[in-house]
Amino acid sequence: MGGERLKIILSLTPPLLIIFTLFFGGIFYGFLQSLGYQPAIGKYEINFSAYYNVMFSERYAKLFWTGLGLNLWVSFASTFLAAVFALFGALAIRKTFFAKTICNFIYSLNLPMPHLVVAVGIIFVFSQSGLLARLASQIGLIGSPGDFPVLVKDKYGLGIILAYIWKEAAFFFIILMSVLQSLGENFEELAQSLGANRWQRFRYVILPLVMPNLFSASIIVFAFSFGAYEVPALLGVIYPQMLPVMAFEFFLNPDLNARSEGMALSIIIAIIVMILVVFYFWLTQAKIRKD
């Protein structure tokens, strides 16, 4: 028994060592830098001034709080809309012959596609010089492509939201299709025979059945879009700026002292995401206890 346990511990040690070193080592070193500890430039003192600076200083406070607001808005809107599109898409095609083919197509094509490529695609399609603007101008809906509404590089982050919807709806779709197919149609048929109309079957049967998976996927998507850099960097504006872009700009600043602010921002993003994950686990555990 003891030998078996030792064997398990020994086999798990190498991968755990790598994970702990890279993940927690990175976080710990980043946290130290956020506290001002940068031996490379002769800074050894530890304090929270970088955190104070980004959140409350006259220079950065407005940037930080509007950035945080934009981050929350973009992450919430893109997660919610991607989930809604995926849910209705999955419900519309799940009974069709093509459902499996489309599912496989999305899985093989959209999921491995880098976010950067999707962001470029959004520019090509939705910007004022993009495909839709030219098309709308050609068919006379608008006078010139310049009259097309600003959907990319706009202050509300619409382009970023579009990119995330494009990319994450596929992720939601795959999860929902697998849940819906494993559930089958019996619950809905039963509800129908008990007198539930189409809307009631959606509200009282489908939604509660898919909600746990939808919620788990939403947490993952929200956390990802909250902390991702490349799409906001490509499709965002200079002000307001999302927090990961701000953090990276601090980090690229030729003034090495600004690295502490960059790291402080990164740690704040990480903390917010962790709070979300902890909240999710707490909810899940509470539900298990309740059941």
Binding site: E189, S193, L194, G195, A196, Q200
Partner: protein, 351 residues
């Protein structure tokens, strides 16, 4: 209480080379408890789903109280189905599950509460309203599913294999409960089963279905005593089949001429098959019988507790006979024996 007529019902699926349901006709009277009996895949559940409206028939009609149901959507038919695996909504407690149909109808909360209580008492589970489905045993889940189906006072209640997921003890209990509730509420009920014993114990009438075709629709007793054809007879444990030709007023069989008193005599064709249940055959070492007595040889004797089964060879034909073990004559293998087929227990069939 509702009367259901099924007329020339046909349903095919692209994946099947024959219709899943082929020209089925049934008249089910108000308050009857009917079993759809047949092997797996014979089309029983397909008929049930057409009655609920979950499947549309290719042809034929389903008439409930003189009105066709075909254009009525499932949710408005008043036909409620209890599925084989109960399908209690896992995120609702028992009260919410049972009250579901009334909630869908927009019934007042207080009335729902009262009705839920009443239904849970009816299925003898008055104190489990706040439990979640996974906290219930299989038998309890089945009862809750039944209460949920009955709460809306359905015109027709459909039960898909209601006892198949229960162990032997719970089956007996649930069977009694279904009969009691059905008799109390007088709701026209159809249940699907592949178990002939279950069908016989529960149903007023049995619709026997093979390969999508209705073989017979009659009382359980008739399946034993007056089956329509050899398929039906075999499904109900018939083992003795003898070819018989109708000549003048006699049935001439492979073992001799048989005196036949069945009321279907005039309907018989020239070529027929007669059957008799093993428990209706009599044996005697002396020829004690007036008619239908044939000399044979005991091939085997199998004691099975209350009964003893004999295989007897009569003119190269093997007949099976089952006699009560108590007070039995001393009959052994290779004994010469007289086999008596009482004329009122023989049944002749065209196919």
């Amino acid at each position: 209480m509702s009367k259901l007529n099924i007329k020339n019902l046909i349903k095919s699926f692209p994946s099947m080379d024959r219709p899943a349901v082929n020209n089925v006709n049934l008249d089910i009277q108000s308050g009857e408890l009917v079993a759809f009996l047949g092997p797996s895949g014979c089309g029983k559940t397909t008929i049930l789903k057409m009655i609920t409206g979950l499947f549309q028939p290719d042809n034929g009609d389903i008439i409930l109280d003189e009105q066709s149901l075909l254009k009525t959507p499932t949710e408005k038919r008043g036909v409620v189905m209890v599925f084989q695996n109960y399908l209690l909504f896992p995120y609702m407690n028992v009260n919410e599950n049972v009250g579901f149909a009334l909630k869908m109808k927009g019934v007042d909360k207080n009335i729902i509460e009262e009705k839920v209580k009443e239904m849970l008492e009816l299925v003898k589970l008055p104190d489990i309203g706040l439990r979640k489905p996974k906290q219930l045993s299989g038998g309890q889940q089945q009862r809750v599913a039944l209460a949920r189906a009955l709460i809306s006072n359905p015109r027709i209640l459909l039960l898909d294999e209601p006892l198949s997921n229960l162990d032997a003890h719970l089956r007996d209990e649930m069977r009694d409960l279904i009969v009691t509730i059905q008799q109390k509420l007088k709701v026209t009920t159809i249940f699907v089963t592949h178990d002939q014993e279950e069908a016989v114990l529960l149903a007023d009438k049995i619709a026997l279905i093979f390969d999508g075709e209705l073989q017979n629709f009659t009382s359980p007793k008739n399946y034993y005593e007056k089956p329509k054809n050899t398929k039906a007879a075999k499904f109900f444990g018939g083992v003795n089949f003898i070819n018989a030709k109708k000549i003048n007023n006699d049935l001439v069989t492979d073992i001799g001429t048989v005196n036949y008193k069945g009321e279907n005599y005039i309907d018989l064709n020239e070529d027929n098959i007669i059957t008799i249940r093993p428990e209706n055959i009599k044996l005697s070492k002396n020829n004690d019988f007036k008619d239908n007595s044939f000399k044979g040889l005991i091939k085997s004797v199998i004691f099975s507790g209350t009964h003893t089964r004999y295989k007897v060879i009569v003119k190269s034909l093997e007949l099976e006979c089952s006699l009560q073990s108590v007070g039995l004559q001393d009959i052994n293998e290779d004994d010469d024996i007289y086999v008596h087929l009482p004329s009122d227990k023989i049944w002749a069939m065209n196919e």
